[in-house]
């Protein structure tokens, strides 16, 4: 039928079977619609992600299908909690979707497990890559191959209450940890807050981000290119940062010890309720804390450079969540079309998804050119960003140095535990970091 005609004279056995099947199916349908149906037979792919605002994704997926009638997407949001655990079960049962979200922290592990396939050389990938922030691009490749397009990328930010500083008699925004300490002490003395610095230390996905950011901002490193730990002795930055944190909590009493039980969102919610003067958070918290609908202190919160031991001009850590495709997908092209649309451009060449997320939820974009986009600029102005600081932090951000080690998550969680133990004063910063470095070496050795 339609199929054989379209293929001219070449008529393989497989096509014969396909055609026969279609004919058989077609007999049951109305004859008129059959021809066009058979010709356009869309590829169907399944697509999953953790259910952050699934209704928004649904609308966007429908928009994609309208622009790409040859691809039918079956979108199944998975629960936000235990997403990775569930995906493990899916992979194990070989029922994984064709395309899905991946956290950069899990990328190495998932590639090694054989669950993902590289997308190098896919149509127009280079075009996207050329416009991406370095830290995003870094985060999406593993052992020289690229595995995804960005769902979103963001950096860790340091924010403060602008109304507090004048009250404490401080005119300069702190840029180093030492200045931060003095400012916080002044705020404490002025009775503005018992613990001016609020930070959640409960183990969670983003639990190590502040530590990374402070080490980066101080010009330090934790790992060399071979994922060999160089802390705490060869590079002493991390030790000094951790010592500062302990002193801030226990000696100067400017860092809230109750932070040990808070995760990212809890610390954020407490900050927006009016407690604390300084905090660090994921980038998309900024528009939220300045949104009167969500925050008691809307309009008073401003971005500052992530503080380090000295003012090096280096930015914080940044991360990426990406769209990737299954190594087993039978619809590679269709999956790529979706990845290109969701993590890149729509039919009109607009970064539609990234802009949509940013406008609606302040979820960070990964494309440099969007910095100059009029819509984006408006959002940033509305949120009250100090644009100079913002641009500085994003353009100087770095991906975590051993993020691509397949053992990253193990090391990350272990190190979070160590830092908590230090903050409980149950071990010294040096011992904790030594334990963490030892763990890294062991894991690395296991992977030899």
């Amino acid at each position: 039928m339609g199929q054989s005609r379209a293929n001219g004279t070449r008529f393989t056995r497989r096509q014969f079977l396909k055609t026969t099947a279609m004919t058989a199916a077609g007999l049951g349908l109305a004859g008129a619609g059959l021809r066009s149906r058979a010709q356009a037979a869309p590829s169907t792919i399944s697509f999953s992600g953790w259910a952050f605002e699934p209704q928004v994704v649904e609308v966007n997926v429908n928009r994609f299908m309208a622009q790409n009638p040859d691809v039918k997407v079956n979108y199944i949001p998975l629960d936000l909690q235990l997403y990775e655990e569930k995906m493990v079960a899916l992979f194990n049962a070989n029922s994984q979707p064709d395309a899905f979200y991946v956290r950069d922290t899990a990328l190495g592990a998932w590639v090694e497990a054989g669950w993902l396939q590289p997308i190098d050389g896919m149509n127009r990938l280079a075009e996207l890559n050329a416009d991406m922030y370095t830290y995003n691009l870094e985060a999406m490749s593993y052992k020289g191959k690229q595995y995804g397009t960005p769902y979103y990328g963001d950096v860790y930010i340091y924010i403060y209450d602008t109304t507090a500083l004048p009250k404490a008699g401080i005119s300069n925004v702190p840029t180093t940890l030492d200045e931060l300490k003095n400012t916080a002490l002044a705020c404490k003395k002025a009775g503005l807050s018992n613990y001016p610095i609020l930070k959640g230390f409960k183990t969670n996905t983003d639990g190590l981000d502040e530590f990374w950011s402070m080490v980066f901002a101080s010009g330090g490193h934790l790992f060399n290119e071979d994922f060999e730990p160089i802390y705490p002795d060869k590079d002493k930055t991390s030790l000094a940062v951790l010592e500062w944190m302990v002193a801030a909590m226990h000696d100067w009493k400017i860092l809230d010890p109750r932070g040990l039980e808070l995760d990212e969102t809890q610390a954020r919610d407490i900050f927006v309720s009016g407690q604390g003067i300084f905090t660090s958070a994921v980038g998309n918290v900024f528009p939220r804390v300045n949104n009167p609908q969500h925050s008691k202190r809307a309009g008073n919160i401003q971005l500052m450079r992530f503080p380090g031991l000295t003012n090096t001009g280096i930015g914080p850590m940044g991360w990426t969540r990406l769209y990737a495709m299954s190594s087993k997908t039978k619809e590679r092209d269709a999956a790529w079309k979706l990845m290109f649309y969701m993590g890149g451009k729509d039919k009109d060449g607009v970064y539609y998804s990234a802009k949509d997320w940013y406008r609606k939820y302040g979820v960070g974009y990964s494309f440099k050119s969007l910095d100059n986009d009029a819509d984006i600029k408006k959002v940033q102005q509305d949120a009250g960003y100090d644009l100079a600081v913002r641009s500085h932090q994003y353009s100087n951000a770095h991906a975590r140095e051993n993020i691509k080690a397949p053992w990253y998550l193990e090391w990350d969680r272990f190190t979070q535990q160590q830092i908590q133990t230090v903050l409980l004063k149950k071990t010294s910063p040096r011992d904790a970091l030594n334990a963490s470095a030892k763990k890294a070496r062991e894991l690395k050795k296991e992977w030899r």
């Binding site: 493990v88 592990a109 090694e112 497990a113 409960k202 039980e261 309720s273 053992w407 193990e410 908590q420």
Partner: protein, 314 residues
Amino acid sequence: MSDRNIEHVAKPAAESGGRTKRLSAPAFAFLLNSPALLAIALLVGYPIAYSFWISLHRYNLKRPSIFRFIGLNNYVEIVSSPEFWSALRITAEFTAMAVVLVVLLAIVVALLLTEPFPGRGIVRTLILVPWAIPPVVNGLMWQWIYDSNVGALNGLLMSLGLIGEYRGWLSDPTYALLALVSAHVWNLLPLAVILLLAALQGIPSDLYDAGRVDGCNSWNLLVHVTLPWLAQPLLVVLVLQTMYAIRVFDVIYVLTAGGPGTTTTTLTWQTFLITFNNLDFGLGNAYAYTVSLITLALAWIYFRLLYRRGEFET
């Protein structure tokens, strides 16, 4: 005790029952058990066997190419790691506190609820409230109660003048475990109460009559009639509660994530991390089986203690 002894002279009911007349007792027993066994075998038979088999292998999902039989090496690795002993100690503390509290409270509450007093019916219904709250919701609820900045517990203690400033209950290594225990106990008390209550209602009153004739006071009746009668259901309660305590997951997941430090990292939480964070299925399953063995051992001890007179018969 006459009722309980009847079983000793049990003759196969099957022989006197209508359509099952021709079946022997063992055959009839097998028939009665087959649906339950079938359901269990079809669903969890494979997972249980798989889990054990994997525990004997070196198998990390991140390295699918390396799948090697290593015998008991994973178990050796577990018992030689300090993490295991730390988690074991924390699990033991948690379990001991949780089980003792639940069982004692449950006995008291169940005895109380067998006595008539105005409003007993209401209390009997209310006691079920905590049970109706899914543990994950229970975790969230207690999180808000313990919250160090806006929590109800801090607010209450402060207004009663018991504390001078808001405390971080979950960030304090001593209180964190206690906080988990009390959230867990609150959630699971009803189950124990219900089981004991049901058993208490089954006590034939002639037992008490006999006791009274022998001149027992109420304390003696409790010790010599009520508690021995409760031995079997108590065993169920003990095993169930021990199992729940050793496997506690949802509350830890929500409240502390094993922290601060590793002060609330139990064996089950450790199993979870190794299996899903590290994707080390070999070691993770060995951990799971270690937990199983510990649970079994405890169950065995309970059996021994509660039936030391050899009167236990299944």
